[in-house]
């Protein structure tokens, strides 16, 4: 970690976004994670994505559980609402936040321990319920805070720092998210912001459950030879299938691509999600196909990255529940307690 405070002074010509803010206005406190931790790159990607989308930083709810990953909400969007919850319980808290105020952008940050072990049940159900949120897992395959035990996402045969191989099969959170109905599923790598930032932007703009599994190497305990979650391993075995690019509705769409390799999807707000297919055999709208593709590649030792699946028209939790237009926290006592006459009418409808 760093003891020196990050100077407030910024580059004099840093670009300003549509609401007059620079990237620096989306930052948080200086990270206390280890130097070189992938999680800090994930935080930086969130900062960059939010700044480029010109989202107002105070309209976010950022929630986390416990672990290295779950410290990171302190390190981005310092102007937003934050909640550092109990281990594995980020999904419950963010569900509450989203139900109460659907106008907030919900960002949940979790880790492989927080989501794939103690919080597995919570993870499964928040995906099932299709809360409108960005669910980021900082996945390093190890318990960094307790000095490097294998986590549940660690690959079979991947070795510890001391050379001991892992004996158990991994949980693939992206595959589970696909199975349980997430309408946006992606995998990326903290060391590749060029892929990660557009994915984050698309995910933030996606209406519904957007899940991103970010392989984020632990420099202290899982960045050695024999690890399948190291910077070097991902650089050699990461296989990008679909690059995503988020294009705002006012931005010019250029057309310099090979026919058939690009697909544009119009987002609910009129902006465009552009997908560049790097493997023409891959269809990001085919949930079942995606699952088998990921598993087949995994057997070959490859890590499939990019936008794995998207359904831009899927309903989110509020649509499923058919809640009122107005966020619930803005409803007045008058709205919530309409009086005896209304109650009588409701009761009458059940008779």
């Amino acid at each position: 970690m760093t003891f020196v405070a990050k100077p407030k002074t910024r580059h004099p010509h840093l670009p300003v976004n549509e609401i007059g803010l620079t990237r620096r206005d989306y930052e948080g406190a200086v990270s206390t994670l280890c130097a070189g931790c992938g999680h800090d790159s994930v935080s930086a990607a969130i900062v960059q994505a939010c700044a480029e989308l010109s989202l107002p930083p105070h309209r976010f709810a950022k929630v986390s559980g416990i672990g290295c990953s779950s410290k990171t909400p302190s390190y981005f969007l310092s102007k937003s609402h934050g909640f550092n919850s109990v281990h594995g319980r980020m999904p419950s808290v963010i569900t509450g936040a989203n139900l109460a105020n659907k106008d907030l952008h919900c960002v949940g940050v979790s880790g492989d321990g927080d989501s794939a072990s103690i919080g597995m049940g919570q993870f499964a159900h928040v995906v099932r319920r299709r809360i409108n949120m960005l669910y980021v897992v900082d996945n390093n395959g190890t318990y960094g805070l307790t000095k490097g035990q294998f986590s549940a996402t660690n690959d079979l045969g991947s070795t510890s720092k001391k050379g001991v191989p892992n004996l158990y099969a991994p949980i693939d959170l992206a595959s589970i998210a696909l199975q349980l109905g997430a309408s946006f599923v992606a995998r990326s790598f903290s060391g590749d912001k060029r892929q990660l930032v557009p994915l984050m932007k698309a995910a933030l703009k996606h209406k519904g459950m957007a899940f991103i599994d970010v392989i984020s190497p632990c420099v202290a305990f899982n960045n050695h030879q024999g690890s399948t979650k190291s910077y070097e391993y991902l650089r050699h075995h990461g296989q990008n299938v679909v690059n995503a690019d988020y294009i705002g509705d006012h931005e010019e769409i250029t057309a310099d691509y090979a026919p058939g390799s690009v697909e544009d999807v119009t987002m609910p707000d009129g902006s465009t999600l552009r997908m560049y297919k790097l493997d023409s055999a891959y269809d990001p709208h085919d949930r079942v196909g995606a699952l088998s593709y990921i598993q087949r590649k995994q057997q070959e030792g490859e890590v499939v990255t990019g936008l794995l699946y998207v359904d831009p028209d899927a309903a989110d939790c509020h649509e499923i529940l058919d809640t009122v237009e107005q966020p619930l926290n803005e409803l007045t006592e008058q709205d919530l307690c309409p009086g005896n006459a209304a109650l009588t009418a409701i009761n009458a409808s059940f008779r």
Partner: protein
């Protein structure tokens, strides 16, 4: 772009903007750190080594370093470098032990230095420790040259001047003071091994306008008048005074007049305020003392009656920008008349060597300047060297020191029969890691965002009553220590080792100034626009690494780096290190054994 060669001494030298801009290449950040550590004597000696006159320059320097200071680009106001230099000078202890030893056994070579100004004194200082016998010739009875005759005592107290001049004279200079040299031929006949001419730019310009001759008694050439004040021949000026000119001499003239009893003082300048030659702070000092500066008024005529000056008529012009240059055109306003009893003419000065016969092998060009080799400062007569204002026209003290170091090297090489170009010692750079622990650095890396400290002044009434009372009180130790913290330590360099980098982006994410990018290599123009923040200051270099495993390169824009060391703190593999660069500027001391 090609990978940056950081072993070339010029690369990191240029990053230290202040040192790069200083003609004598004073290692500014290093002496500021010494001040912060209250090691004033060492800070003073580091200065003395480079610029020879720290106490004098700490009060009078033209400060080319300050506009160059990186803080101008990252915040607004530069570090008060000049005033910190004075802090070192004011608080130093006994420097005796640090002075170079002058051998009692001489090396048999005799050198004549003509004119006892800063250039000659600095040459003497460089030559004496190598055993040269140095003879110094000066028409005035004291050493110091223009530092004594042209800089008023309220800016540079005589004691400060004497101390630093005597430091050099006491090293064993043979002084021939109070005798004017009137013939170079005679000098050459004395058969010295080499000659150095440092006679400055002693001729103040005059203005031939209608009425000039009739009112001669009321018109004074600025630098001559200042000299007569400095030497005590003039102690008052009465009535209304007009100072003509917009340079530092004009500012000294008007402020001196005010102190010598002038009823009113007005500075009239032919050009616009912004382009006046005077330093910003000297203009401010004059205006603070209530002296009006009137711009865009070229003089037309001296008005007189019965042989007595009545005033001056000025035309009115306005500046118009044409092809990036200012041109002055009549503004259409009627001419103005300003009353005056005295006029001080401070419109420039020239070097002037009527005492050098034109048949002694020293060629002069059409502007009457000596023809010099720009590196060695040698004239067409191989035995004769020039430096200071007499070399290329009026500059300032810090340039005189810089010339002197070069001339001293040339004289030494010449006396050894060596080539003045090929045998010059090269510049060098040493890089020393400042890493002391995981998060400990041998310099104060934390960024101090505070504003430039304001220098305390003596009460104005006291100042204006006595021409010898120094106006600026200087920073005390507390203010000096505070101001020292503003220095960004630009000499502690960000050094990148490609083979250690794992491309984790930690440095990119933490850099407060978005200086660092990992991108595909390209031509410079393209690269400058693909970085985290646009690199639009073309005067500042890009530091480009070798190819990394992902076929990208690390590009660092040096422009606004705060040298806070966060990239190195966040680097998990020490691919970034903060290394102090020590730039070796050759001086004659480099030859000493």
């Amino acid at each position: 772009m090609q990978p940056t060669d950081i072993e070339s001494p010029g690369y990191f030298h240029k990053v230290v903007d202040c040192q790069w801009a200083c003609p004598a290449h004073t290692p500014v950040p290093e002496y500021i750190r010494l001040i912060a550590q209250e090691r004033y004597t060492e800070a003073y000696m580091l200065n003395w080594d480079s610029n020879v006159f720290p106490g004098i320059l700490g009060r009078t320097c033209d400060r080319p370093c300050e506009p160059a200071c990186r803080r101008v680009r990252t915040e607004e106001k530069p570090v008060a470098i000049c005033r910190l230099k004075r802090v070192a000078a004011d608080n130093k202890g006994d420097i005796g032990a640090y002075m170079p030893r002058v051998p009692s056994q001489k090396n048999g070579k005799r050198i004549a230095l003509i004119g006892a100004g800063p250039a000659s004194l600095a040459v003497a200082r460089d030559l004496l420790p190598l055993g040269y016998e140095v003879h110094l010739f000066e028409k005035d009875p004291y050493g110091g040259g223009m530092m004594r005759s042209q800089i008023p005592a309220f800016r540079l107290p005589v004691e400060v001047l004497d101390e630093e001049v005597d430091q050099i004279l006491n090293m064993g200079v043979v002084c021939h003071f109070g005798q004017e040299i009137t013939s170079m031929k005679d000098m050459l006949d004395q058969d010295f091994d080499a000659y150095f001419v440092g006679t400055g730019a002693p001729r103040g310009r005059d203005l031939e306008l209608p009425g000039r001759q009739e009112v001669d008694a009321h018109i004074h050439i600025g630098i001559d008048w200042l000299a007569s004040v400095a030497f005590g021949h003039t102690d008052k000026i009465e009535g209304k005074v007009i100072v003509m000119g917009g340079g530092n001499t004009a500012m000294d003239c008007c402020r001196t007049s005010l102190r010598l009893g002038a009823e009113s003082v007005t500075v009239v300048v032919r050009s616009a305020f912004e382009v006046m030659k005077a330093s910003e702070w000297e203009k401010e000092d004059a205006m603070r003392e209530g002296i009006p500066i009137i711009n865009n008024r070229p003089p037309k005529e001296f008005v007189h009656e019965n042989g007595k000056l009545k005033g001056v008529v000025f035309a009115c012009v306005e500046p118009v920008e044409e092809d990036g240059r200012l041109k002055y055109v009549p503004s259409g306003e009627p001419d103005v008349f300003i009353e005056a009893d005295h006029i001080l003419m401070a419109i420039g000065q020239d070097n002037h060597c009527p005492w050098i016969e034109r048949d002694v092998g020293i060629e002069f060009d059409k502007w009457d300047c000596p023809v010099l080799d720009e590196v060695s400062l040698q004239t067409t007569n191989p035995k004769v060297f020039f430096g200071g204002d007499s070399a290329f026209g009026p500059e300032n003290i810090i340039w005189a020191s810089a010339h002197a170091h070069q001339a001293a090297i040339s004289i030494h090489l010449f006396c050894q029969g060596k080539d003045l170009h090929k045998n010059r010692p090269p510049e060098g750079v040493n890089l020393i890691s400042t890493k002391m622990g995981v998060h400990e650095w041998a310099y104060d890396s934390e960024h101090d965002p505070s504003a430039r400290r304001v220098v305390p002044l003596v009460e104005q009434e006291t100042a204006l009553n006595n021409v010898k009372v120094e106006v600026e009180l200087g920073f005390d130790q507390t203010l000096g220590a505070e101001e020292a913290q503003r220095c960004l330590n630009c000499d502690v360099q960000t050094v990148f080792t490609e083979s250690l980098c794992i491309e984790c982006d930690a440095c990119v994410d933490i850099c407060p100034m978005d200086c660092i990018s990992f991108v595909e290599n390209a031509e410079e123009e393209v690269l400058r626009n693909t970085l985290m923040a646009p690199a639009d200051n073309l005067e500042q270099d890009l530091y480009v690494s070798q190819d990394l495993p992902t076929k990208r390169v690390m590009v660092k824009d040096e422009d606004v780096c705060l040298h806070c060391g966060l990239c190195a703190e966040r680097c998990p593999t020490n691919a970034w290190d903060m290394q102090r660069s020590v730039i070796h500027i050759p001086q004659l001391g480099s030859f000493a054994e």
